[in-house]
């Protein structure tokens, strides 16, 4: 998907499907997701709560509960990741590929010293002695910018602030110099000021080490200018996928547009209303045949409810699953018709969007 890099991608995910057999039925949490990630590159996965971002990440990390049904292929540097999982490969996760989680308050073991938690990877995977591991752990804490790093080694997580804890988590993840780091909303639980520090730190470390990264967030603002590519997910599917610049300049999917309207932008007139996307994501058990976003979409036409759009190309490496893409003639016409009607074919009240920082008419360049 990134045209400039040749050769094999580091991570190649093809038609990934994940279902959970629950008492209510099969929850289709991820439904046909594909992407490639090249060494040293970053991919942002963006979507509302429940769109399947974490499940995608956990599938890659082999962290799903045993009742999960996984289909599709995940290749890491030519190795079949699901095969590795079946063989209980010991030195892959945590070594080649690792993950950090949303809440640093809960991702550290409360009863173990910080130093031990970092050192254990070094001991288990790299066979370091107790002392070597401890020294290296200290170095890692320094790397992630923790003051008085040596002293922290013998502290417990509850003695550290949230920002410091997330740094410890990052140090833990970096211990074995992984080639891919998956960061699942690494800053959502932190103060706004701390958020930026952590994101910058991740960028910096990634750059230094030539590590690839998947940055998961529900906030388009977080990935803007930070990732090489972006995949927008909704109801377990890919809605739109492009390199970051293209996505922000010529977004095609109404869902992407709606997501963007939920975050404040500097170029907005000062009193622009921020519009939460009306409605809720669909139930993932009985998925209706049409586009999952249709009931909440300003661009929807009758066809959207009947037939699910497939991912189609819009120029190089830009794909979007929509019958009436934003900024195309068809899209502009569909929205205009709905505005005239006052409601969409799915019964969505267009009045909800009045005064919103809409971008549809402008087409936002090409």
């Amino acid at each position: 998907m990134n045209g400039t890099v040749n050769g094999q991608p580091l991570l190649s995910v093809t038609d990934l499907r994940v279902g959970f057999a629950t008492q209510r039925g099969l929850v289709r949490a991820v439904d046909g997701v594909s992407f490639d990630l090249f060494a040293g590159k970053t991919l942002g996965i963006v979507g509302e709560s429940g769109s399947g971002k974490s499940v995608t990440a956990k599938t890659l990390m082999n962290l799903l509960p045993s009742y999960a049904r996984v289909e599709g292929s995940v290749m890491f540097d030519g190795r079949d990741v699901r095969e590795l999982a079946a063989q209980k490969e010991k030195h892959f996760w945590g070594v080649e590929m690792t993950m950090i989680f949303q809440d640093p308050m809960t991702s550290l073991n409360p009863v173990k010293k910080v130093g031990e938690q970092i050192a254990e990877s070094l001991r288990v995977h790299l066979g370091r002695s107790r002392k070597e591991a401890r020294d290296e752990a200290g170095d890692l804490l320094e790397t992630v910018g923790i003051p008085e790093a040596r002293k922290r080694l013998s502290q417990y997580p509850h003695e550290l602030s949230g920002g410091l804890r997330q740094r410890v988590v990052i140090a833990m993840a970096l211990a074995c110099s992984p080639r891919l780091l998956i960061a699942d909303e690494p800053t959502t639980a932190l103060d706004v000021t701390v958020q930026k520090h952590i994101l910058d730190l991740l960028d910096e470390l990634r750059e230094e080490r030539g590590m690839a990264m998947i940055l998961i967030t529900h906030d388009l603002g977080v990935v803007k200018g930070r990732t090489d590519d972006i995949m927008v997910m909704y109801a377990g599917r890919t809605m739109e996928q492009a390199d970051t610049a293209t996505l922000f300049s010529t977004m095609r999917h109404p869902y992407t547009e709606a997501l963007l309207e939920t975050i404040p932008r500097i170029d907005m007139p000062s009193h622009t209303r921020l519009v939460p996307i009306p409605g809720r994501p669909p139930d993932l058990i009985d998925i209706a045949p049409g586009c999952p976003f249709a009931p909440r979409c300003r661009y929807s036409v009758d066809a959207c409810v009947v037939e699910c759009p497939s991912l189609e190309g819009h120029g190089t490496a830009h794909v979007c699953a929509c019958h009436k893409p934003v900024g195309t003639e068809a899209g502009i016409a569909a929205r205009a018709a709905n505005e005239q009607q006052g409601t969409t074919p799915t019964g969505l009240d267009m009045g909800l969007f009045e005064g919103a920082g809409s971008r549809s008419g402008t087409g936002a360049g090409n």
Binding site: G94, T106, H158, A175
Partner: protein, 335 residues
Amino acid sequence: MIRFLARRLVALFAVLLAVTALAFGSLNVLGDPLFNVVGFIASVDCDAVLAGEIEDISGQTAGGRGDCEVIQAARKEHRLDRALPVRYVLWLGDIVRGDFGTSFKNEMPVRQVLADKLPKSILLMTVAEVIGIVIAVPWAIVAAYRANRRFDRASTVTSFGLLAVPNFAMGIILFYFFVVRWQIFPSRFEDTDLAARLKSMVLPGLTLGLPLAATYQRLLRTDLITTLQEDFIQMARAKGMTDRWVMFRHALRPSLFSLVTVFGISTAGLIGGALVVEQIFSIPGIGRAVVEAVIRDDFPIVLGSVVVIATGFVVINFFVDIIYSLIDPRVRRDD
């Protein structure tokens, strides 16, 4: 940590004072200590006898003062002429010096009775707790590792089964098979050497220990399942730690709270259970001694046992508090 321990110790002594005061007070107020010492003549109105208004009941002694002399001597000896709080303090002083008084019935020093009976009961309870823990911990770990799978379901049924059987029934069943039928274990407590003592404790220990194992297994399994869903467990897995490592190095310790708490509390229940079990397996322990003393109104023995048992309970729970702080550093905070 020092401050934490100091605070715990102060609490420990406060609880001990309260428990001893309650035990001493209730036995003195609810029962009639004088009656327990001298028998029915306790009801003689000595003031009237001394004033020559009435005769005492037996009237054998010259001057007709025999009963009253006995009563007065008893009053003095047992300090019944003093106010209750004063008696309590003096009694507490005796206890601290190791003087538990003498049995009303056979004039044996209570201390000697306790020294004879107590070790057997302590051995029984220790064996029971060890059996409980040793069975429960691996059992809970295996069950939680594959929660809601076949083994776990079977263990749920088994543990509820064990809990549903009353102590005496379990004891009698074990006794019947292992003593009467197969004659593997002795029918009564054999006090010859440690091996014999331990062997005599196997069945009584199982009788008390199996239900304990079931309780502990339930608690630890549930806590383990909860812990295994925590983010830090996912994080440890994401670091590539094996299931075994995650279970033993990450999940087990933070899951021990309920187990440890109930371990502390269960010692009280064990004392009750010991009464029955000592009876079935003919162990001359403190349980039987207390039952006999209560039946015979042997006031000093009852009080002495209560004090020792309560102290044991409080001390065990003091250690439970310390174990908490070893499990979780957050408990140690000095605030």
